[in-house]
Amino acid sequence: MYRQELAEQVAQHRRYPEPATASAIIFRVGNEWLALPTRMFQEVSEPRPIHSLPHRRWGIVLGLANVRGELLICVSLTRVLGLEDSPLSSWYRRLLVANSHGNRLAFPINEVQGPHRLHERELNGPPGPVIQERPAFVEGVFQWRERTVGLLNPESLFSTIHRNLA
């Protein structure tokens, strides 16, 4: 009887989001664990070939990748954040597509962990290499499964990348 199914639904606790929390997607770039607010997160795809641009072989832009027919600019987060730069092929397993106010960028990454609900008070733990090198890009760090994750500030990240592209 369908009323029994309804009873099971009504018996479930409603999950109200806690105040002052944010949702972030945690991912790994090289050896560094980072996070971006979930709202910016568009998709994660299988690694696509990145076609390097002729006059942009160095710097943060790695090239262009075709994601569902759209050519997206691929940016090296390790270079933007001043992290240890290891060859892409050794860790490029996924392509993360982020969207900030209609501007889409693709970041090669290693792996992704699903949305994580982050409480305000968890931020600003002990600093790691990310926050020391480029404090402007990192809103804070938090602990997740015994790892230190740097929560990236999407606005400063995107605006810097776009300035670099211009």
Binding site: M1, R3, Q4, L6, A7, Q9, V10, A11, Q12, H13, R14
Partner: protein
């Protein structure tokens, strides 16, 4: 002020929305064979055992119709010692709300029987809507039974 509308038989009623905790579907209830008439059973509401009263049975001596628009209105209700408890009311057509000035509800000027929960009336295009003071809906002896004997569980 926001009101939740519902029906008992053909008549329309309004309950202040701020008194409502949640409106849930007419889910299966655990029945209480020894309960007085008007007590439909116990609802597992988000892990709490909430007694559910059949408003139609209480006021019209006729069980509520099991329609898709029949709902259980969960309200906060004080028990005998004034503690806030949860109580559910089965009501038909409990799917609409009305945003209106409370002063539009007017005393009917006719004594409509000894029903302390019935308040003033509002007339709209479809007829009268009567304000229900749900805190007076349960007759005192029933309130005692429900909270003290059937469901001695505090929120």
């Amino acid at each position: 002020m926001l009101f939740l509308l519902f029906q008992l038989g053909p008549d329309r009623y309004a309950l202040e929305a701020r008194r409502v905790v949640e409106v849930v579907p007419f889910a299966a209830l655990k029945s209480l064979p020894q309960a007085p008439a008007g007590v439909a059973g116990i609802l597992n509401y988000r892990g709490c055992a909430v007694p559910v009263v059949d408003l139609s049975e209480l006021t019209l001596a006729k069980r509520v119709e099991e329609r898709l628009t029949t709902r259980i209105i969960v309200v906060r209700h004080p028990d005998a010692s004034g503690r806030a408890r949860l109580l559910g009311f089965l009501a038909e057509h409990a799917t609409e709300t009305l945003q209106t000035d409370p002063s539009r509800f007017v005393e009917p000027g006719v004594k409509l029987g000894a029903a302390p929960f019935l308040g003033p009336l509002l007339m709209d295009a479809n007829g009268p809507i009567q304000w229900v003071h749900e805190q007076h809906l349960l007759p005192e002896p029933m309130r005692q039974v429900i909270f003290a004997e059937l469901c001695p569980i505090q929120i």
